[in-house]
């Protein structure tokens, strides 16, 4: 009468489980689906409303651009078929390619283009500069629009073909009319992929389908320019937060590409079967340290100079990146290997010169007041460099008050102009992709308009004037000369300290090919999967 004993019941259950588990192992990797792991969680979908890189990358999938930059940095037409400039260089006429259509089936018209350009230039720095030149826009016909300038401007094409945030993407007029400070409600573009809004789960995944009606250009792809051939029916962005899980998922074949694997995994990735490492952005990224020009002691150029003398780029690369071949010393404020990079940077060599640093400190009358250095605790990609900065500044004789906080607090505190001891700051460090700092007009640190300049609020009219000349210059040689002059002033007034350049290669399955080289944007067209 004794009921079945408990122990044997549990034993039977576990036998059943074992057979049930050993079912099919892998999710079969179907060649018509591409699974991509972005470097961050895709939250905001409006590429104008925020400059976040992940939103920019998402927008490249869904929207199309008038012009786009090729691998050599030249601006090539994309949606524009032909364009002409009037004799006095004040009127630009653009004619769109025929048959361009939005995902909701409506044709792309010049009215859509003008509305999109207006919304873009209300938020983008370079767009802002362009706006100062523009008198008005005309839309003579559905496929032609005209830009009338007050005076000749050398950066029209540079602006319309701009590679990084905010990119002048073209949206339907009804959406583009949303004010720049408000987020758009719908994602409808004319790009190579269609965004499946219903399958979008923030923090989980985003789904894009191939746009069958997309009319790709017939030139070969080169960076953002050329034909945008799509070889997949469905692309899934899979959000995986934990770097170790990203590594495991790629190894197990559950995902096809990881945009930014942790640097520590680089060597192991190279030896892992079925996986290879590719560098789609040779120009890579760069670390910088920004001074607060408003408050003592860094309002004194000598003390800023002293801090720059203490900086050793090698240590930043070694600790944050850790893989020697991925990093390089680069003295220039522009990424080495891009158009305007220039080696002559005065005394700043990127190698610590403690003697000079101490001398400058003495000259500047530094009395040892603590320097508030902010460090983000939750952003792994730049969490380690402040520790290096603290060590190097202390070696030079600075006293450092190390403030640790999460990224959101740092962004908020960075925007405060109060004195460092009352909730303000002296120093913070961050990183930029090459695309953002390859042109003086897009480099935030060169926004030296004082109180309404970039954080740090440097007031240096010489930089602003040179940037205006740069915008008017029409030949590459002239632009190069002006860029070097800007760098010279930047170094003299130490706007910020470049702390080394590094690449952040992606990791892909070995059966993937055709990943385009770009100034930092992962492009998912042109890719093939065997």
């Amino acid at each position: 009468m004794i009921r079945r004993s408990f122990v044997s019941a549990v034993a039977a259950a576990s036998v059943v489980c074992a057979t049930w588990i050993a079912g099919p192992a892998h999710a079969q990797s179907d060649t018509k689906v591409f699974r991509f792991v972005p470097h961050a969680n895709l939250a905001v979908l409006d590429p104008i409303w925020t400059t976040a890189y992940v939103t920019r990358n998402h927008a490249y999938m869904v929207y199309d651009t008038l012009f786009s930059e090729d691998a050599q940095g030249n601006i090539k037409p994309q949606m524009v078929d032909t364009y002409s400039v009037s004799g006095d260089k004040k009127t630009w006429t653009f004619k769109l390619r025929s048959g361009l259509e939005f995902h909701d089936g409506k044709p792309v018209t010049s009215a859509d283009v003008v509305a999109s350009l207006k919304r873009w230039s209300s938020r983008d720095a370079m767009g802002g500069v362009l706006n100062t030149f523009i008198d008005r826009y005309d839309t003579p016909s559905a496929d032609t629009f005209r830009m009338v300038l007050k005076e000749p401007c050398g950066i029209v094409l540079d602006a319309l073909g701009k590679a990084s945030s905010n990119v002048p993407f073209i949206m339907p007029e009804r959406i583009a009319n949303t004010p720049g400070t408000e987020q758009i409600k719908e994602t409808v573009g004319s790009g190579p992929f269609i965004f499946k809004a219903d399958e979008f789960q923030p923090g989980v995944k985003a789904v894009y389908l191939k746009n069958p009606k997309y009319k790709a250009r017939n030139e070969p792809s080169s960076a953002m320019a050329g034909g945008r051939q799509v070889n997949f029916d469905r692309v899934e962005w899979v959000i995986i937060r934990d770097p170790q899980t990203q590594f495991n998922a790629l190894k197990a074949g559950e995902v096809d590409m990881v945009e930014q694997p942790a640097f520590e995994q680089y060597n192991t990735l190279k030896q892992t079967a079925g996986v290879k490492v590719i560098d789609f952005s040779p120009a890579g990224l760069a670390f910088i340290m920004r001074f607060n020009h408003l408050h003592a002691p860094f309002n004194n150029p000598k003390i800023r100079q002293a801090a720059m003398m203490a900086m050793g780029q090698q240590a930043y690369i070694a600790t944050q990146v850790g893989v020697p071949e991925l990093g390089r010393v680069c003295r220039s404020i522009y990424p080495c290997g891009t158009m305007y990079a220039d080696e002559n940077t005065g005394d700043f060599t990127g190698v610590p010169n403690l003697a000079k640093a101490k001398a400058l400190l003495a000259e500047g009358g530094y009395k040892g007041e603590p320097i508030v250095l902010m460090r983000p605790t939750d952003l792994a990609s730049i969490a380690k460099i402040p520790l290096v900065a603290k060590q190097q500044l202390e070696a030079a004789g600075f006293k450092v008050d190390f403030q640790q906080m999460d990224w959101a607090s740092l962004l908020a505190r960075r925007a405060k102009k109060d004195a460092p001891s009352q909730g303000g700051w002296h120093l913070f460090l961050t990183a930029w992709t090459a695309g953002d700092i390859s042109s003086p007009l897009t480099m935030a640190m060169l926004n030296a308009k004082g109180d309404n300049g970039w954080f740090g609020w440097q007031n240096e009219p010489r930089i602003e004037k040179l940037k205006a000349d740069f915008a008017r210059a029409d030949s590459t040689a002239a632009k190069k000369k002006l860029a070097s002059e800007i760098q010279a002033v930047a170094m003299e007034t130490s706007t910020h300290a470049p702390l080394g350049q590094y690449q952040s290669p992606a990791a892909i399955r070995s059966n993937i090919d055709g990943v385009l080289v770009t100034p930092g944007v992962p492009l998912l067209w042109n890719i093939t999967k065997k």
Binding site: D242, T319, G322, T377, A395, Q404, M405
Partner: protein, 289 residues
């Protein structure tokens, strides 16, 4: 046989006490155990394997011969030094969290247990406190006060306070009815004296037990906070943030996670078994068995 002999006879208590004693000893003797400054980064000694013998560059640039018993992390910091010094912070976090949680918990629990009026108000507030997810509280505190030992202790202690106060309240409710408490009232002993002299000493046993469990979970929660980037800053090593930082390269250099775990697991185990031992010996309900 004094209470301590009875406790020592209990296997669980003995294991817990011995292990905790060893860890405490290691923490106190940290400077002499062949360690270097745990926060010092030497970037030409990155990711050394365990047992590597080389030399370690100090802040002033000079280098000293050093044996990397447990290798080094991806910062080039000596893992053995970080683990040994980490013991200090982890034990401090555990002890302080338990103390804070018990102190405030006893205060609230006693008031709620003895005075009907206060009971409703306090317990509803405790419910409210328990309803706020611990992670949100921790993040808000660390964000507001900056990451330091005190913030982390408060962040871990606050979610424990409602549990402790609920335990104390139930103890007070039962002890209140005991004849020796009624006799004290008949002897005109003032209420606060009754609480401190008669009720608290008899609630000590279950409180100590709860204290050890709070300490154990404190060491673990600190590791979780570090995992989320909200624990103590990197230059103050704790087992939690060593493991959290080492996790990105778990497949490549598992040592960064496993070596601290070799210390963390026995310590948390010791806290828990200490608690079990205390409960089995001191708790009157069990003594009867």
């Amino acid at each position: 046989m004094t209470t301590f002999d009875k406790l020592w006879a209990n296997g669980a208590f003995r294991f817990g006490a011995v292990v905790l004693g060893l860890v405490l000893l290691m923490a106190l003797l940290a400077p002499v155990l062949g360690t270097v400054d745990p926060a010092q980064m030497d970037y030409n000694n990155i990711n050394r394997s365990a047992g590597f013998a080389g030399n370690f560059t100090l802040t002033d640039g000079s280098s000293v011969a050093h044996h990397f018993w447990l290798g080094s992390d991806n910062f080039g910091r000596d893992l053995f030094s970080r683990v040994v010094y980490g013991a200090r912070v982890s034990l401090v976090v555990a002890a302080c969290t338990a103390a804070v949680a018990l102190l405030i918990g006893v205060l609230v629990g006693m008031l709620a247990g003895y005075f009907r009026g206060a009971d409703l108000l306090l317990m509803r507030f405790m419910d409210g406190l328990m309803a706020i997810p611990a992670i949100l509280l921790a993040i808000a505190l660390v964000a507001a006060l900056g990451a330091s030992i005190t913030t982390v202790v408060i962040a871990i202690a606050i979610p424990e306070i409602p549990r402790v106060s609920r335990l104390v309240r139930s103890l007070v409710l039962t002890l209140r009815e005991e004849p020796f408490v009624e006799a004290a009232r008949a002897l005109a002993t003032p209420t606060p004296v009754i609480l401190l002299r008669h009720i608290l000493p008899n609630a000590m046993a279950p409180l100590l037990v709860q204290g050890t469990f709070v300490a154990a979970s404190a060491v673990l929660t600190e590791a979780i906070l570090s995992f989320l980037g909200l624990g103590l800053p990197a230059n103050i090593p704790t087992w939690g943030n060593i493991m959290a930082e080492g996790r990105t390269q778990f497949s490549q250099y598992p040592g960064n996670v496993l070596y601290p775990a070799l210390f963390l697991v026995p310590t948390v185990l010791a806290f828990n078994l200490l608690g079990d031992g205390l409960r089995d010996v001191l708790d009157p309900k069990f003594a009867k068995r």
